[in-house]
């Protein structure tokens, strides 16, 4: 049965890798279509940036972050009161 075990391993490898690729290929296609449909049919006023370059928070950014933290703390507090 040793060949059989090897054969099983080979089967898993070939079909497995094939299906992973096929599935992700289908996902790439569907995602691309979905993105186009969503972007064209339902354009948004306020897009959310993917923030490509994330440098360490410098002066101004730090200030902004601090403001956000305080806002978040206040929101969190209000939510807790609910």
């Amino acid at each position: 049965m040793q060949e059989s075990l090897l054969q099983q391993g080979l089967d898993i490898t070939l079909y497995g890798m094939g299906i992973v690729f096929t599935f992700l290929l289908v996902l790439v296609i569907c995602t691309t279509i979905m993105s186009r449909v969503v972007t064209r049919l339902f354009p948004e006023a306020e897009p959310v940036a993917a923030s490509p370059v994330s440098t360490p928070a410098s002066g101004a950014a730090g200030d902004l972050r601090l403001r956000k933290i305080i806002q978040a703390a206040i929101e969190q507090h209000r939510n807790r009161r609910r």
Binding site: Q2, I12, G16, L24, L27, V28, F42, V48, V53, S54
Partner: protein, 437 residues
Amino acid sequence: MEHITNLWLSSGAYKMSSGQFVMILVGLGLLFLAIRKNFEPLLLVPIGFGGILANIPGANLAVPAVEAAMHSGDAGVLGQIAQALGLGGFESMQGLKAALESAPAAAYERAAQVAQDAGFSNGMLYNFYSVAIASGVAPLVIFMGVGAMTDFGPLLANPRTLFLGAAAQFGIFATVLGAVGMSAAGIMDFSIADAAAIGIIGGADGPTAIYVSSLLAPDLLGAIAVAAYSYMALVPLIQPPIMRALTTEQERKIEMVQLRVVSKREKIVFPLVLLILVALFLPDAAPLLGMFCFGNLMRESGVVNRLSDTAQNALINITTIFLGLSVGSKLAADKFLDPKTLGILALGIVAFAIGTATGVLMAKLLNAVSKTKINPLIGSAGVSAVPMAARVSNKLGLEANPHNFLLMHAMGPNVAGVIGSAVAAGVMITMVRAMTG
């Protein structure tokens, strides 16, 4: 005096086997790596500690009531258990253990009732394992939390990176081949289910590895989980030499175009698209990817922030504590100290190396067929090991070109790798069941 003797006879120092001693050292070693070397401490602290607890002689923390009853050695109880299991009577511990392991559910239930009547109860870690892992719930809840922490923005901005996540899964399947090859060569004795569970280490994703091995090879779960988390922690050591060897200085300098802005709506719809595809093509990946998509939808929908916050904090933390201790319960000496463990550790690191290599090579292939260039350093992030692998890509990119921030670009293949290994897990579960069922 009798009591002193009893206490001494029931003490750990008297009962400890050399295997348990070694495993306690292994547990201490894992704690050292976690605390001093910062090796995935969130998992390795509970796993290491659970491993020590599981090897406390006489405490029976990691075994069910019926095994505790068997360890007690009481002749009457042993006889009753043997009868409950359908044997004529107690003959040897070996025979009884074999009978217990192969017992149908009804016979096991009867044996458990005998143990309960004799005053034995399940060990604490055994209970944790049953509830958290044997039921499958803990890895799934962690996957939900990871989903709630994941931003698919970079992936959606550049869907091609999904191919990098696919390519890196070759590490998984190469390892399956390696494991069956070892068996064929007579070095190890891995079944096809074992091989598949070992392969998943190459997925570089802890909960996926635990989920798959709990289904296909529960006895190897301890070694597989330890290997998966240890190698994830070692990513900054394992990957760079491979990445440097497979890329030219020029390739490493490639600067990538800034990612496009991804709308909120795309982010909301993406987990649903993924879910539908899973429902259509890979039902066996539905638990893992379903919970992952659910967590991500809670995050992106923006209408259930309470739930999303809890999934990312209290719930995932609670689950991590019990998951870690439960994995530790599988570090009991009689299961872990086995030549198989060495095989698993050896195969695991090969899996990581191959996955890294195929990810980088796929990036070069994409460059060969496409106009928009990809920095091949982000290919290695396809193994997942979020976010460590992406950071490694970023670091090597900066070395080659100080203005080259690859982190966000590498997050695409990084999360694609999570999806890829969950898909691979689903495929393997289906195929192994068909082969062994």
